[in-house]
Amino acid sequence: MNKLQKPAENIYQKGRSLWSDALRRLRRQKLAMISFVVITFYVGFAGFIYLAESLDWNMQTISWEEETGDSYQPPSVKNVFGTDIFGRSVLRKTLYGVKISITVALCASFISLAIGVPLGAIAGYFRGVTDDVVVWIYSTLSSVPYILLVLAFAVVLQNKTIFGIKLTGITTVYLAIGLTSWVGICRLIRGEIIKRKESDYVLAARSYGCPTMRIIFKHLLPNVFHIIIINFSLRFVGFIHAEVILSFLGLGETDRPSWGAMINDARIELSRGVWWQMAAATAAIFFISLALNIFGDALRDSLDPKLKV
């Protein structure tokens, strides 16, 4: 008898939520976890620089302006990645570049999500004229090559004063990236909302007289949130690259070190045999890009209900 009762207990065992199941599956992937640690380090270090700057901590690691040797010194024990034209440590510049890149990627992500998600949700739910207008806007935007669009926005926004705030350096960069890269997420959310708006739980909410906005933002959006997270992680790396490109083209940060500006400087220094600035900035971009790609893929696999085992 006892033997017969055990299966019955298993049948009524409490199911796991999408999120806890995803977390369980994610933990099993060692490479993804290592990538997560790398990402956490980058983000944590960016946060640390913000904290140190706001509290006026005088720390060597982030004092990139300090001259630590002569001009263009090759890598040594004192200067691990050598020095730049002004004798500043390339390692410190690279570490400081983390702040610029992470700030741009985070801000640009939030701006693009803040525009793309509500627009996609509203277009998908209401359809009709609203949908036509939103689709028309994003189709127009997506018909322009992405990098040209970002460049155009960056050039227009550069040094402009909006609501009394002067747009310079990275502010211009993340605004330009954020305002031009919401199309993808908008399209995805619109499609998901169209698919789910006739679901039972939405019909139930409607029959209870729930207001439309509450249905969209309280019932529908939480159910497509995993798409937002996957999209966020996969696009994050793209935003870092966009910042590097804009800085390389002289439209990004000018007063503080960023990886793009470092690569731009290094481009002409290569012919005099100064390779370390290029190597350091490229390595920094390589590790965060690789980590974000691996982690983003793992996250997508973990959150995909079709791959549930």
Partner: protein, 594 residues
């Protein structure tokens, strides 16, 4: 169908693929072509509105002036070009009579009947000057003639009243510009102007333009230059390529037979008395980045090149001479002082900077000029202790003793304290504007910021493109700005004029500087002939200006130019641009280069 498509694709690709192998110097091996690089797009090739170096580099091969600098003689000497001889000057130095060469023809162009260029007449010079005076034309060369020629200012006022460009009557008489016959030009001045020949008559601005070409091409004249020079425009792909070809109607000129004693040994007189120009074509490829131009030079696709700062060690050894690798390639080096000065200028109309000499002194003392030169020009340049460039006769060799270009951060801090007392509190953030957004300007900005920061000055660096910068500079809206100037004549007047209050922005006085004593001195100097007394007044004016610290004068450029062994008659000339006619190519040497 598939095969047909493939065939079409291959046909389309074939010229492209074959074109890939073709180098810039390929072509007819017997054709003598000069290959140059130019660092920026050419704005236009209309001499009446030509002022920038790049346009002049090309335009001076197409257009000619009444006088030119002798190619070989030093000190620089002015000789006739379109003029038959040097001008006859009246005793009161107010009337210049100039005989014009006969048999000079405008280049063949469709603006002339049957496309055949007509003979140059004295009236063409009068027309060209009236054109510059025409308000509707908005020539940047007008300030050169402002209040100098009798009746020309009245003509300008008359054009102001004309409704349209086309309404201007160029046959209207100007008393100071007369042509007793087709080959005589008489210029009457309002007051003596000893620099007339060097400043105006040898300047591209005074190059004659045919009225037919202006009427025919209208506003598009900037793309259709029709001059009397040895070359005419053949191809101009804006932003990438310019090709000039030998003008078949050029009257002919002979290579100079006299020069400096050292010119014989240098081979500059080997071609003495031969007809010029030598080259059949002159080509400029527009290459904005210094390094691609450098690599093309090393490949033998450019005849001469400057040395980018990041390739300096590759070309020049520690002793300041060419490296063995360069010598092996039969590359030759020329070093010469460029009569130029670069600075960080102060807008003297700025309420904070203009009234606070201590602040300006503090900024000047905070700037490490030696380090700047070491980092940005491989230690080549000379510190600017004043603003008159070393090549000028009036350059005061002992000016460094005055200490205007001292780097002393401690004294700068002391001066800053005084400046804060004058200002009544901490000095607000200063704004320094850079005329570019590229790596050089970004690094220059960072260098400036670190110098200012070190003495406790807050500074914000603004990077802007050239047209934006120029617009703001001319409107006087910049606080501190990076700028520079290259002399166009071997006289310091170009430099001193920058501090004459009549030349305030949009004129050459971008500092908006005014000092009554300086104005008095300039007025006196302007009408004087070259003499020791005049040079002393120059020096007095320079010191008077320097005492006011209207700028942080940084450096005078020293040019290092390389040329291939096949590029002959390459004697540097800092005041003349129309030199392609003297250059010759040793085609065998060029063909043998690997």
């Amino acid at each position: 169908m598939k095969k047909c498509f493939l065939f079409i694709v291959l046909l389309t690709l074939f010229p492209t693929l074959s074109g890939c192998k073709k180098s810039a110097t390929d072509g007819n091996p017997d054709e003598m072509v000069l290959y140059h690089a130019i660092g920026t797009k050419i704005k236009g090739l209309d001499p009446g509105d030509m002022r920038d170096v790049y346009s002049m580099m090309v335009g001076s091969q197409i257009f000619e002036t009444l006088y030119q600098y002798h190619f070989l003689k030093r000190p620089y000497q002015i000789v006739p070009l379109l003029a038959e001889e040097m001008p006859r000057i009246s005793d009161d130095k107010l009337v210049y009579t100039i005989k014009i060469k006969r048999g000079v023809f405008f280049q063949d162009d469709r603006c002339f009947p049957d496309g055949k260029g007509r003979e140059l007449k004295a009236g063409d010079f009068v027309y060209s000057l009236k054109r510059i005076a025409n308000v509707k034309y908005i020539s940047q060369n007008w300030s050169m003639f402002d209040d100098k020629i009798v009746g020309l200012d009245e003509f300008r006022e008359y054009t102001r009243k004309c409704k349209k460009r086309e309404d201007v009557d160029f046959s209207r008489l100007v008393e100071g510009l007369q042509t007793p016959d087709d080959y005589t030009l008489v210029i009457k001045l309002t007051r003596p102007w000893p620099q007339l020949i060097a400043t105006a008559l040898a300047d591209t601005a005074m190059a004659p333009v045919a009225k037919e070409s202006v009427d025919y091409y209208g506003r598009d004249i900037i793309s259709h230059p029709v001059g009397t020079g040895p070359y005419r425009l053949n191809i101009w792909r804006r932003g990438s390529y310019i090709e000039l070809v030998r003008s078949p109607v050029f009257r002919g000129e002979l290579y100079p037979s006299e020069g400096e004693p050292s010119d014989v040994k240098a081979g500059y007189l080997d071609d003495a008395g031969k007809p010029i120009p030598f080259a059949d074509k002159v080509v400029w490829t527009i290459i904005e980045e210094a390094q691609p131009a450098w690599f093309l030079f090393l490949q033998g696709k450019l005849d001469a090149s400057v040395i980018p700062k990041d390739n300096f060690d590759e070309a020049i050894s520690g002793t300041g001479e060419l490296t063995p690798e360069m010598k092996k390639r039969d590359i030759h080096l020329k070093k010469y002082i460029d009569p130029s000065t670069f600075w960080l200028g102060f807008n003297m109309l700025d309420p904070m900077l203009g009234k606070n000499k201590s602040l300006r002194q503090a900024i000047s003392l905070s700037f490490d000029r030696r380090k700047f030169i070491d980092l940005f020009s491989n230690g080549r340049d000379v510190i600017a202790h004043g603003f008159v460039a070393p090549l000028m006769d009036s350059y005061a060799s002992k000016i460094s003793e005055k200490g205007y270009a001292r780097f002393d951060p401690d004294e700068a801090r002391e001066k800053l304290k005084l400046a804060e007392q004058i200002h009544g509190g901490k000095i607000p953030t200063l704004k320094v504007s850079m005329p570019g957004t590229g790596t050089f300007y970004r690094q220059f900005g960072q260098f400036t910021k670190s110098n200012f920061d070190a003495v406790g000055l807050d500074v914000e660096i603004e990077y802007m493109d050239w047209p934006t910068y120029l617009g703001k500079l001319k409107s006087g809206s910049l606080q501190i700005f990076s700028s520079g100037v290259k002399a166009s004549i071997p006289d310091a007047e170009d430099f001193l004029g920058m501090f004459y209050s009549k030349n305030w922005a949009p004129g050459s006085n971008s500092f908006n500087y005014k000092n009554i004593r300086c104005d008095e001195l300039y007025k006196k100097i302007e009408v004087m002939d070259d003499s020791p007394q005049r040079r002393e007044l120059y020096r007095e004016m320079e010191i008077t200006v320097l005492e006011d610290y209207p700028a942080v004068f940084i450096n005078h450029r020293v040019a290092y130019t390389l040329r291939h062994g096949w590029y002959m008659n390459y004697k540097p000339h800092v005041f003349s641009y129309g030199l392609s006619k003297y250059r010759r190519i040793d085609l065998a040497k060029r063909a043998a280069y690997k």
